[in-house]
Point group: C2
Chain length 240, copies 2
């Protein structure tokens, strides 16, 4: 009944845009996220204790968002993430703490995975890997972004074969299971894990074995996705 708004898009509004990246890597028994030192400000007020922030930058002219995320990740981790996907976009309203800027702030947040070995070779890493269970004080926004990123990653774990992105070309089944447990944050049943893995034919055995100190040597496998139609299952109400 009240006046309708015009169909045409209103005049474009300018905002400042930031691309944040939540990089995750295996670290011992849990996932770690890459944090970089926050800006301490030119004034260098010494009493300000170091705050940690997520790697972030604005897109450069004519740079695609995905490319910005890749650049931010490469710059911060000193390595190319083996997976980098968009997690969310937040904001719109003006942020009061953005003193000096009158524009609203929009943040596009990405999550990425960095394999262990890529990290080891990183010659130019900025920031530190911090275990998820021992995060320092972060801004509310960054803490939420990490939560959202981890959730988005976990939601993709059994939709896409992202676990293999954290492993080298050949790996043992125990390593694969450990990656899954790390990504999901819970233990998995060994026999069931191997049974469904074999049934899926996602991996193929190589003729190599690796002896890792004590215990029986493990056979090495490689990721070899079959090209078949995915079977459709019933609804999973138990996930609701």
């Amino acid at each position: 009944m009240p006046d309708r708004l015009p169909a045409a898009r209103s005049a474009p509004r300018t905002v400042t845009l930031a691309v944040d990246v939540v990089l995750l890597t295996p670290r011992g028994n849990e996932l770690a996220v890459l944090l970089v030192p926050g800006e301490t400000g030119r004034g260098a007020r010494a009493r300000d204790r170091v705050r940690w922030v997520l790697p972030s930058d604005a897109p450069r002219p004519d740079e695609l968002l995905d490319d910005t995320a890749g650049r931010v990740a490469q710059d911060a981790a000193g390595a190319t993430p083996s997976l980098l996907e968009q997690a969310a976009a937040v904001g719109g309203a003006r942020r009061p703490q953005d003193s000096g800027s009158n524009a609203a702030q929009v943040t596009i947040s990405y999550f990425g995975l960095v394999p262990d070995d890529a990290e080891a070779n990183a010659s130019s890493r900025r920031g530190e890997w911090v275990g998820l269970s021992a995060l320092p004080a972060l801004s509310q926004r960054h803490a939420e972004e990490i939560d959202v990123a981890v959730s988005a990653m976990r939601a993709r774990v059994d939709q896409q074969p992202i676990a293999f992105r954290l492993l080298p070309a050949s790996f043992t089944l125990s390593e694969l299971q450990a990656v899954y447990e790390l990504l999901l944050g819970r233990r998995l049943h060994k026999a069931s894990f191997r049974r469904s893995l074999h049934a899926s034919a996602l991996v193929e055995a190589t003729d190599e074995w690796r002896s890792e100190g004590r215990g029986r040597p493990a056979q090495l496998f490689r990721y070899a996705p079959p090209r078949r139609k995915r079977a459709r299952r019933g609804i999973r109400f138990d996930l609701l």
Copy 2:
């Protein structure tokens, strides 16, 4: 080895921001998406046939992205969507076709669900509901957005109880199954559907029944989510 980029975020860059909304509603045997007539331009070149576009607008000053999406949806559908979630953000690079604008374009795309009955009461709808199987010619970008939105919606179907958003407070189990089949785009087995639904205890029976023409009357149920821990299942390699 090469010079590292400075840690500090580079100077904020302004972009124009658009929020697109992919609204979906049940329509007979399939889902329909809400399209609005495209801008024909001031010059009104008559030979330009009407093109359809997704409802879209730029955020207003100090408006959160989610609020922008809600406003665009309300304005286009004449009703409030019962679900509205962010699907993706794309862009970054300058779009050549944006003549007159030098800024890059970023689009945040949302998907939403509009129940049948809300739609019926819509007094001020703009645009038309078009079945997904009979979409008119759309821009590449809008066609992709619809695909992404439908995929994002389907990915959430068995993660969140979004199916109930398309139904009134009480409904028959056949209606519920029909909604699921519509959302997922495939048929479901009746007995299995009811069995797992009952096992989940997501719905509770009312003492009402509805007679819908011929056939045995169906009992009405209401959505009554239990507050319990979700059971964790094994990995689903068969989805990869």
